[in-house]
Each structure stands twice: as C-alpha cells, then as structure tokens.
C-alpha cells in the first residue's frame, strides 16, 4: 500500500555515474536528511505565521520552544522522559511499515499494555520488586502485542484493512480501560479520577542514576536498536522487507507472508505495550484515563518523519518529545492553548508527507545517467 511513499527509489542511488562528485555519489543519503529537515523548517515557519496571526511574536515562540525543550538540563530531562514512550509507540508503526502495512493503533496497544502491566503488578503484590517489574514488562508487552496481533490477524485471515481496524481498536481499548478502571479494578479511594490501586512505590522502575529521566528511555533505545538489527541484519528482517516490497515475489520464493505479518504485528504491539508499562511503572504509578494523552498518535508522526527507520526514530522522538515538553511553557508565557502542540504536529506531519514528492528531484544531487 505504501510502496509509493515508503520507498522512493532515487535514480542516482541505483546507477551512480562513474565521474560523479561527492554530492552525486551520496545524493540519496543526503536527501534522507535534507528533505525531512527542510520539511521541518517549513513547518516551523508556517506555525510561526499561524501564531503571528494571533498576535504573538514568532521569534518569542521559537525561543520558548527551544528553551522549553532543550534550553536547560531540566528541560532536557523532561524532553527525554517524553521521548521514551514516543520511541516505543513509533516502533509500533515503523515495524509493520516494513511489510507495507499502515498500523496507527499504537495508542490502543499502549493502553492495553498499561492495563496488563498494572494487573500483573497488583496480582503479585508482596513479591520482590524485580520479580514484579519483570512480570510487568512481560505482561505489558504481551498485552500490547496481542492487541496489534488482532489487527494483523484480521488483515491476514479476513482481509480487513489494518489501518482502520487498528484505529477502531484504539477506541475499544479506551472503552475497556474506562470500564475496568471504573468497575472491578477501581481503587475505592480514587474519588474524582477513577483509577486502579497503586502498584506500590517499591515496584516503580525509577530514574537513571544522576538524572530525573526514567529507565523507559533505556528500554526505548534498546528496542529501537534491536528493531534496527532485526530489520537490516537478519534473515527475518530481509524476508519482511522483501514481502513489503513485492508480496507476489515473496510468495514465489516461498516466504510465508502470513507468519511474517503476524510476528511483526505482535512485535510492534509489544513495543507500544511496553510504552504503556513504562508510563505506569515510571510516571503514573497506576492506570487511569490520564494514560490516553496521545503518545500513540504522536508516535505515528515520529515513525513517518523517521521514514520508518528504527534508528532515525531515536532523534526524531527526542525532537517531538521536546516539542511536547515545550507545550507547558508556550501555555504559560505566550498564553497559547495547550492544543498548539497538536497543531504544530499536524503541520509537521503534512509538510513531511508533501516533501515525499521531492525525492530524486533535486538537480544538484542527481547523477548524470
């Protein structure tokens, strides 16, 4: 489905001319940095104009965005803590994208993962913290994995479009969460905001020593690198990319496409499920509707901006985490509504997609063929 957008083949990359200069030889790689970068700058300019329409100074805006995201050690820590779930939810879109599938249900897998991890922690109260934490990781990843596996299975066995089914499953996951949190799992003491009981301070995974950044960031980095290795340096990943490029060719060479789809969907959901576990075990300490703040949706944007490359997801997630982190400052100092971050994300998303048209069209980077 995304073959057109996900894999722009640059003429220069296939047949570099023998006498081509540096720019021509590395044209394709330069494009992968230059074009998304330019799209990002264009989006920031458009957002600046948008904000200027409301009588705010765009230069103030850029300054506060920078300051709130990367200006101080405090803001760096805030940014990195927000980047952690974004890396994980972005993998939920990026992994299936290797197969040509567009999964946008990371938010649902995050919620189910959070529920599963919380249930595991509550069931194992009194056990040593390490046991509880490992159980939470396993439960969160399994819960999230099964949730996206559902979309993959529907696609494989019933031909149901995975984009729509995964999005519908987000709303169903939210309903299940609200149902359980206001029903059997409710902590009677949580009056205004129905929540589950706390998992207990001893079971929280805590921060990386010397910082306020929680261990979720390390989880995210490990899974991003592991996904990169899986996709680009294993037979499994090669098979997945073949199937994503040309499904008929994959079948002819005997790849079992169904197995690939199901495995990749489970892994993708497991990443987002881990994001839910991290949010519970490092930030919230319990499950309630506060978990549905849109990390799953921002993760889609991260994956597209990183062109579905797991390693590129890391810096992009930090960037988007920074934009999220600066939202509070924009609200306080410039009086912009909290939704301004959403508007900026939407503009970035549109501009990045539109920039897909530019690949292979920048004259300077083209080889003579």
């Amino acid at each position: 489905m995304t073959t057109e957008a996900a894999d722009p083949v640059d003429a220069a990359a296939i047949a570099p001319a023998a006498d081509a200069g540096f720019l021509q030889r590395h044209g394709a790689s330069i494009e992968y940095i230059l074009i998304p970068g330019a799209a990002l700058v264009a989006a920031l300019v458009v957002f600046g104009i948008f904000v200027a329409l409301f009588g705010k100074n765009p230069l103030d805006l850029y300054w506060y965005m920078y300051y709130g995201a990367f200006g101080t050690w405090f803001s760096w820590q805030n940014t990195l803590s927000r980047a952690a779930p974004l890396i994980l939810t972005a993998l939920c879109t990026a992994l299936p994208a290797q197969l040509g599938m567009v999964i946008i249900g990371g938010e649902g897998a995050l919620l189910i993962g959070a529920l599963a991890a919380t249930s595991a922690a509550l069931a194992l109260q009194g056990m040593p913290p390490l046991v509880v934490q490992v159980a939470m990781v396993i439960a969160g990843m399994t819960g999230g994995g099964l949730w996206i596996l559902l979309s993959g299975g529907l696609r494989q066995y019933r031909g149901v479009n995975e984009t729509i089914s995964s999005l519908l499953l987000v709303y169903i996951a939210l309903a299940i969460l609200n149902h359980l949190v206001e029903g059997v799992m409710r902590d009677p003491a949580s009056l205004n905001k129905p929540s589950t009981r706390e998992i207990g301070a001893a079971n929280m995974i805590g921060s990386i020593p010397g910082t306020d950044v929680h261990w979720g960031l390390v989880f995210g980095l490990i899974l991003a690198v592991a996904s990169y290795v899986l996709i680009y340096h294993t037979t499994f990943g090669f098979a997945a990319r073949v199937a994503g490029g040309n499904i008929r060719a994959a079948k002819i060479v005997g790849l079992s496409v169904g197995k690939l789809i199901l495995t990749v969907c489970f892994l993708a959901g497991a990443c987002a499920g881990l994001a839910g576990m991290v949010e519970v075990a490092a930030v919230q300490g319990r499950t309630n509707a506060n978990l549905a703040v849109g990390y799953g949706f921002t993760g889609i944007l991260v994956a597209f901006l990183a062109r579905q490359n797991p390693l590129a997801i890391i810096p992009v997630a930090i960037l988007l985490g920074g934009i999220n982190a600066s939202g509070g400052l924009l609200q306080r100092r410039l009086g912009l509504p909290d939704a301004s971050v959403l508007v900026l994300q939407g503009i970035i998303f549109i501009s990045v997609l539109a920039s897909d048209a530019l690949y292979g069209r920048i004259g300077l980077l083209k080889g003579k063929s």
Partner: protein, 308 residues
C-alpha cells in the same frame, strides 16, 4: 401511558430516537466519503474534518446568531480541508492514506486550538421539527424531534445514488475511480475530478460535524467526536460504496451508539463504557464478516489503494 411511565419500552424508543438523531453525522460523513472514494481516493482525514466542522459551526453560530450560517461555515471548512488533502495527494509519490492520517491529527489539533474560547459560551442551535405531536408520551415526542439536517441527509442518499448512476458528473467520478487511464483517455484531468470529489466529501463531512455541535449533543467540547468520523469511513467500505446502503448502515450505527445512553436512562449503568464502544465493535464485526482475503470487495473502485 400518558404520564410517561413506560418502563422498559424506554430502551427501544431511545434506540429509535438515537438511530434518527445519532446517525446524522455518520450519514453525512459516509455519503461524503462515498463520493471521494468513488473517485479513487480515500480520505481518512474526515475525523479531523468532522471536528473542525463542529468547531467552526459553533463559532460562526455563536458570532452571527444564525445556526444555518454555522452549517454553511462548517461545510466550507470541510471543503477547504478536502482541497488540502487533494492538493497534497496530487503531488507525485504521496500516499493518500498517510495524508489522511496527518489531516486527522491536524484537523483535531486545529479545532481544539481555535475552539478553546468556545467551550464556555452558548451558541444558537439548530431547530427541530416536532413529528411526535400526535403522541402524549414524552419519550415518543423526544424520539421524534427530528432535525432538518437528518431529512436532508436522508434525501441526499437516493439523490447521490441516482447521480452516480445517470449524471455526467457521476459517470466522470466513477471513471476516475475505476480507471484513471480511461478518464485521461477521455481527455479529463483525473486530479481535477478527485479534487472536486474530495472537496465535496469534505463539505458533507463538515456539515456532519455542525450537527454534532449545533443539535446533538449540541455544544462544543474536545470530547465531541471520538472516532465517529473514522467509523463512518469504515462504514462506506461495508456499504459497498452504495449511498443507499450508507443510509441504512448509518441508521443501524446511530441505534447502536444510542444503546449506552438508553440503558443508562433505565438504570443499567454497569458496562456503560462498553456500550458506548458499541459502534466501533459493530464496525469491526461487520468488517470481519463482509471482508474476505481471497477477493477484492464487490463494488470497490478499482483505483482505491485501500482495497487493493
């Protein structure tokens, strides 16, 4: 009976009322998406269009005092978002599904941003026509207080059915959707046809949004639409791109969506959230039943990326 104490009859009555009331946004979005998809392009961004439509309708109705101006503004906003979608999609190598997702996020974000000051004030709402005057039972009268937009939507379905079948425009849209090459060979610009089809789709989806904020539930807040737009997009798929089937499916959806509040009104409060998720579960179930991995869906426009 006249005292309104009708016991459990409340539930089916509320579901009937809901089928009429709640189905209207589904109806408009699905008819709009039907036009767009028939032209060979899918616009997943109608969720964002719906929310933007709701916000702009409420804003304009509040500022001008005329809810009908609000409806018009919502339609125009939707058409603009449709033009944006079509414009980006007409660039080479851009994927329409991804653009739809981006517009979904952009539309919702923009609506929340611009709609911040509209949460407090009360705007003039759309009037309803009382079709229940013959009954003494308040619940019946409530169920039959019908909005004009619903009637327009109901009339629109057969008109679109007829237009697809017999008019020149319907034929052009279908040609672009079945074979872009054929449309080009006839000397028409496929991009221009799809631009108009997407704008028309956005216009209708925007009007669907105006119904949310100006009639039912009848106020503007950020939780106004949660997935109704995307449900309606899915609805088009199992309505087989047939406007008449869109109408029946929308009615069924409205009924399903009204089940939660209806049960709550007779005191069944457990499972409230699950009943609220009924339309999504229903969509998923119907897609599971009607789709098949072996063949493409009958009636699917051949150029549509999502069914290939």
């Amino acid at each position: 009976m006249a005292d309104g104490n009708i016991g459990l009859w409340t539930v089916p009555l509320a579901v009937l009322g809901g089928a009429i009331r709640v189905s209207t946004p589904f109806l408009f979005v699905s008819l709009g998406e039907c036009i767009t998809e028939r032209s060979g392009r899918i616009n997943l961004g109608l969720e964002g269009t719906l929310v933007m439509g709701a916000m702009s309708a409420y804003g304009i109705s509040y500022l001008s005092g005329s809810p009908w101006l609000g409806v018009l503004a919502a339609g125009l906003t939707g058409a603009l978002l449709g033009a944006l979608h079509a414009g980006i999609c007409s660039l080479p190598r851009v994927n329409d599904v991804a653009v739809g997702i981006s517009l979904m996020l952009f539309g919702t974000g923009l609506a929340f941003f611009l709609g911040k000051p509209l949460i407090e004030p009360t705007a003039a709402r759309l009037p309803a026509i009382d079709f229940g005057w013959w009954s003494d039972v308040p619940q019946v009268r409530a169920a039959l207080r019908i909005n004009v937009l619903f009637l327009i939507g109901v009339a629109l379905a057969p008109i679109l059915f007829w237009a697809f079948k017999t008019t020149r425009w319907g034929l052009l849209i279908r040609t672009a959707g079945e074979s872009a090459d054929a449309a080009r060979a006839m000397g028409h610009s496929v991009l221009a046809i799809r631009l108009r089809a997407t704008m028309a789709g956005g216009f209708l989806a925007g009007i669907g949004g105006s119904f949310l904020s100006l009639f039912y539930p009848g106020s503007w807040n950020e939780g106004l639409s949660s997935g109704q737009g995307i449900t309606a997009v899915a609805l088009v798929i199992f309505a087989r791109w047939d406007p008449m089937l869109c109408l029946w499916a929308s009615l069924a959806f409205g009924g399903a969506a009204a089940l939660g509040p209806a049960l709550q009104s007779v005191g069944v409060t457990s499972g409230y959230h699950l009943f609220n998720a009924a339309p999504y579960i229903l969509t998923l179930l119907i897609m599971i039943i009607t789709c098949s991995p072996k063949r493409t869906l009958s009636g699917a426009p051949a150029e549509l990326s999502i069914t290939r």
